[in-house]
Structure formats: structure tokens, C-alpha cells
Amino acid sequence: MLAASLIGRARLVVAVSLMITYASGAVAHGFAGDRFFPATILTPDPFVADEMSLPTAVINPPSPDGSRAIDIEADLAKRITPDLGLTLSHRWESLTVPDMPAVTGLGGAFSAELDYQVLLDAPHQALALLGVNTSFGHTGRVQALGAPDFTTISPVIDFGKGFGDLPESMPWLRPLAITGTLNFGFPTKTQSAGVPNPNTFNFGFSFQYSLEYLQHYVTDVGLSAPFDRLIPLVEVSFSTAVNRGLGGQTVGTIQPGVIWFGQYVQIGAEAIIPASRLTGHGYGGVVQLHFYLDDLFSNSLGRPLLRW
């Protein structure tokens, strides 16, 4: 009798749990309706999630001065509530300068970004979030690796749009999706060691063609695993200085590549092509292993910390 009562209660708890999830429309992963947005390597994701990139390994193109950096990056995204998320990231760097021994250590700055999901339009496959990114000064090797000795605060808008809502007369365009980011970076110091720290306007986009969407939502073209989980894409990212004598100077990269996503992880690989002489010359590359914590730990770490 007691056992039956406990089983009944457990079933009720499961049913209520399912109803709450169903009713809230909470989006972990990058879903907007039937569109799955992968976590892109270069362009910030337009959704809050419980995910982790570890590692992101980057061989940067050679800089104009001939130096070359190899980065190992880690990112952790965690939902605080279903719509509020926090992302933490940092990187380890190995910098090689011609005729000098390599220098290694924490490069760049430790950064934290708080994001709020302001738009989730399932029928139109649209997503957007507003956030504030803070990269903290003195959290990397300032002298040896050029990590910033100042904090930069950046208000952020990230957005995504899938084109699955296009008319059925355009089937080959419906797997397309675009994500993008716009932000301004405001350094808290105007100069470091006599070098100006300008405000920057930063923007980037990813142009994705989901073979998963094509195969499973538009038309069966005969793709099977693993090819039905591939998303070829091109990402671009630019940063333009806007003041302090450096106005108009732009650095950026163009990164064609592909992402494969499975049930628990995704793997991405992209070439890195400098988009301006200031950025560097030659080519680089990046590979990323990305974990879906909401699937790996669906009853613990993968859920929002708070639920309202």
C-alpha cells in the first residue's frame, strides 16, 4: 500500500515536472521553434544555455610583427533562471616571437557576461538577448603576453534568425540561419604604458546552412549520420576603434568551417583568415569541443539554478 502510494507520488512529481517544462517553453540549447542553433566558435550565441567549450584550440594567423599565438580557451555558460545566464571564459596562451623563446601563461582577460533572453519567437525562428560583458584587467600576464591592465565593459546585443519560415517554394533557402552580435567596448583606462585604449565597436555574424534542417524539416535528401548533423558555416568578426587617435582602425577575421553536433557534444573546426593587414597575414585555424551540460546533467548541473 505504502509502496503503491510512493510510486504514485513519484509519477505525479514526474508529470508535474514535465508539465512545468512544457509550459515554460524554457530553451536550453539553441532552439527557436524547430530551429536548432549550434554554439558557434566566433560569434556569441543568442541564447542562454548550460554548455561548456573545453577546449577551444586556436592557432592564430601570424601577426604583422611576425609573432604567433596559440590559445587554449575555456568557456562555461550557466543559466541562473530559464532566461538569465552567465558565461565565464578565459584562455591560456603560448606566444612565439621570432628569435625569442616562447612565452606562456594566461593571456587576454578573464571575462564574465550576464545575459537576458529578451526574444524567443518560435514560429519565426528568432532569438535575441541583451547582456553586459566585463573583461577584467590584470587577470592575465600583462607584461609578457600583453594581457590588459584595465577592465573593459561592453553592453551586448546578440541575435539569431532561422529562415525555415520562408515559403515552401524556396526549399533550399530554408536551412539558412544567421546569428550576429553588436557591442561597444568601453575600457576603464584611456591608455596603458603610453598606448591609447580606444573605445571599440565590435560586430560579427555567422551564416549557417543546417543540413539537419534540410534533411529532417524540408526534404529528405538521403543524408544519414553523421552527415545529417553537419552545419557548414562562415563566421566574420570585426573590431573598430572609434576614438583616442585610433578611430577607424579595424581588425577582423573571416572563418569558414563546419560544426557537427551530437546528442551531448558538438565539434567545430574553422580556418582563420585575417580580414585586414592590421589583423595579420597568412592563415590560422581553430577546433572546438563543446559540451551540452543540459543533456549531460539534465537533472542537476544542466538545469537553471532558479526557476521562475
Binding site: A15, S17, L18, M19, T21, Y22, G25, A28, H29, F31, G33, D34, F36, M52, L54, P55, I72, W92, A122, E168, P171, E212, Q215, H216, Y217, V218, T219, D220, Q263, Y264, F291, Y292, D294, D295, L296, F297, S298, N299
Partner: protein
């Protein structure tokens, strides 16, 4: 071995899926095929997902291409395969049909989608 590499491997080991971990249910296979044509009316619509689905919170709706709903019994989960959802359909006249599906995987993740297929020559 470098200490940082050992630390990295330790964290990566923590990421090995725990036993019984489940994920979002993606559509893996559909009969009739997505966007395809079948010469004779199908007796059922059978969708296979990448994960087991929870039948109480999953369903398939069928409509004509102009949006008129077609009455059916609720979709059921195949007793022999918890990844398959099956909708028995009445005799369909030649034409184009729209399938709407939504599933909740057994760990409560929700996914949805739609596609069309055509009956007839």
C-alpha cells in the same frame, strides 16, 4: 606531464556522460519521408527520434496543405521501441499533407517540428 594538462584531462573526465544521461530528441527518420511523395496512401506516420519520447507529452497532428486538420486517434509510442511515435491515419486522398510533431524526451527536453509529404502519382 604538465600540471595544466593533467588538470584539463581531469575536468574533461568529469564530462563523460553519466549512466542513463538523455538528451533532446531530434527527428532521425520519418515515414513517409520528409518532403517526399508516396504513390499510395500511408496507413500510418511513423517518426523515429534520437531519444526515447514521453508519450503523454508528445503528439503528431496531420493537416492538409491548406491547414485543415485531419481527425485521427492520438499518436502512440511504439511498444517495441520508445524512440518511435506512430500516428494511424485514415485513407488519404491524393494531395499534399502537413505533419506537425512535438515530443518531450523522457528527461523532459522538448522539441518540435513540421514537414510535408505528398500522396499520389
Amino acid at each position: 606531464m604538465q600540471r595544466w594538462l593533467l588538470q584539463l584531462l581531469a575536468v574533461a573526465a568529469l564530462m563523460v556522460p553519466p549512466v542513463g544521461a538523455l538528451a533532446h530528441a531530434f527527428l532521425d527518420h520519418a515515414v513517409p519521408p520528409v518532403g517526399g511523395a508516396v504513390p499510395t496512401p500511408p496507413k500510418e506516420i511513423r517518426l523515429t527520434f534520437s531519444e526515447g519520447v514521453e508519450p503523454r507529452f508528445s503528439g503528431i497532428e496531420l493537416a492538409t496543405s491548406d491547414g485543415r486538420a485531419i481527425a485521427t486517434a492520438p499518436a502512440i509510442r511504439d511498444p517495441a521501441d520508445d524512440k518511435q511515435l506512430v500516428l494511424a491515419v485514415p485513407n488519404l486522398a491524393p494531395g499534399r499533407y502537413r505533419v506537425n510533431w512535438h515530443v518531450v524526451s523522457v528527461d523532459t527536453h522538448r522539441t518540435e517540428g513540421e514537414f510535408t509529404f505528398t500522396v499520389g502519382p
